[in-house]
Point group: C2
Chain length 339, copies 2
């Protein structure tokens, strides 16, 4: 075939493929686990506006960045953060090598299952737990430990692996955004290396699109092979005002859509909203004690230690036109079917 | 068209498109600005091995990560780093607001064009220059300053914008790797926010694939609008042992190919090499005083303050089978044609 004929033929074939794909896509309704209503419409309308080349709100593919909080936005964070369960399990597993933990807080609290004493240890205690359980090994060893833990750990209420407690409607939303040219990122207060071993399989999000809190690592030569050792020192906390900082550092572009569920996501949504052009800011409200959990204290829901959604955040959402998802009203189902 | 007929037709059309693309790709020889020889062959052979599904060295697309140093690897770093020229220009522009600089080092050295005094100020002096010129404004303002500077600044020898002093053979290499499913990253000791305004246009590398050194930023509300303010405090130095740390933090995967030109890239190449499976480690040797610059001190080339390539690094490259590019022998041309 001549170059010219080939080029002409190529154009023809591409047009055919696009035509078939487009008609196939139109046949499939997005977000099947979402109830019809204002929430679903706000999301679908936004995606249509930014992807339609004839819309004044059109956004080029390269700038279609969407950022998602993880705990409480993409998966369950109750009765406590999954990573805290992991830290507690690790402390228990490591306890035989640390007899002093039997009489030292916050370790004693963990070993005695004394949640009151654990809560009393506060943030300082939590950081000590994380350092003891997350540092002192290479990044490769930590990845292996996390991967093995996810395989055996089960949620106390739902009796399923934590990786199966991602929200089905949010999985559909991630896929829908990617089908529409979005790059989807996680921006979590959780540990970046705790999440990366599972995000590709659970969310279809590759490690390079996961932003989170981190501890320092150090390049060392061990037996002539380089390793990155995890040090017991905080590097970065990707929460509250840290979320825009992390987004700017890792992505270098402002998201046009962002999704959270708590006061820890407030600044990320503000940062997203402050860009020019069409924007979508969304918060998940946990108001479904029957199928998942109910906590706020916004809307009179119970107080919580994990994923606080204050009345002040609800006020800002209402004043600013942010979308608030009611799990109870907007989602047909919460979790994917059992495997 | 029925679903079944559509699906059958779709398969047929896709096959046709693939066939035409494949034959078009075969017709075009990669890396035209590279001389035939061992260097070019090593690169092309590696790419063929990792992209051929029938090769034992095949690597899935998601894992085809290639990391590139910037200064001296992708663009010229002599007579000094481009970012240092920028810092000097900024100090001169800001001098009227800082009368004290006339009598304070290292600023006095800059204002007097006294390179000896500037060199004597050492690393501490350089950091002071960077802080004075790179901090104290929002990230948006800094981006605007950098963008404007790139438009007017000219290289003292080549009299061209710095953005035109990327190496033509490396631009072809970046494109060739991307055509073969690689994700190309910059991993530079230079400032992440100094590079991002130009990497997409110059290298085809989007901001989220640029890793570099950084100063801290802080989320602030100014007149009800959120901004990220650049603070005069080092956050991360992405050089030497920092490069594997930065790669792990930003990408979370080990590169299968990496490219550098100096001792600052040594640990990145070691980290790349230490993975399992096929690997490609490449160093650019500046041995072309006629068309660009010549410096080492490897191979008896002159000493330099910018982009040192020591005999010890050359020894490691030879022992480990790393590829060393001779600019003089391997490259047909250095820079892209003038615009």
């Amino acid at each position: 075939m001549s170059m010219q004929a080939r080029s002409k033929f190529l154009k023809f074939a591409v047009t055919l493929v696009l035509a078939v794909f487009t008609s196939a896509a139109a046949a499939h309704e997005p977000l099947p686990s979402w109830n019809d209503g204002a929430t679903r419409s706000a999301i679908v309308d936004f995606v249509k506006r930014v992807t339609d080349e004839n819309s004044p709100d059109f956004v080029p593919v390269a700038e279609r960045i969407a950022t998602f909080d993880n705990d409480g936005t993409l998966w369950t964070e109750h009765p406590m953060y999954t990573q805290l369960v992991f830290a507690i399990d690790r402390v228990k597993a490591l306890a035989p090598q640390h007899p002093e933990w039997k009489t030292t807080q916050p370790f004693q609290a963990v070993l005695d299952n004394d949640l009151g004493a654990l809560a009393a240890a506060g943030e300082k205690g939590l950081i000590e737990l994380v350092m003891a359980s997350h540092a002192g090994m290479s990044t490769a060893d930590f990845e292996a430990i996390v991967t093995a833990w996810f395989e055996t750990a089960r949620h106390p209420r739902f009796k399923r692996p934590y990786t199966e407690l991602a929200y089905q409607p949010m999985l559909e939303l991630l896929a829908y955004l990617r089908e529409n040219g979005f790059k989807t990122y996680i921006t979590s207060g959780g540990g970046i290396e705790f999440m990366r071993p599972m995000t590709e399989a659970v969310y279809g999000i590759p490690p390079e699109q996961v932003i989170g809190s981190s501890i320092k690592t150090e390049y060392q030569m061990q037996d002539g092979k380089p390793v990155l050792m995890r040090l017991p020192e905080i590097d970065f906390i990707d929460d509250k005002t840290g979320k825009p900082v992390g987004i700017n550092r890792f992505i270098g572009r402002r998201p046009i859509a962002s999704f959270g569920n708590s006061d820890g996501d407030r600044q990320m949504l503000e940062w997203t909203a402050a860009g020019s052009g069409a924007r979508l800011m969304v918060l998940v409200l946990h108001d479904d004690a029957g199928r998942e959990y109910a906590y706020g204290p916004a809307n009179g829901l119970p107080e919580t230690h994990f994923g606080t959604f204050t009345p002040s955040l609800m006020q800002e959402a209402q004043n600013s036109g942010w979308v608030v998802i009611s799990m109870k009203d907007d989602w047909k189902q919460i979790f994917p079917p059992e495997k």
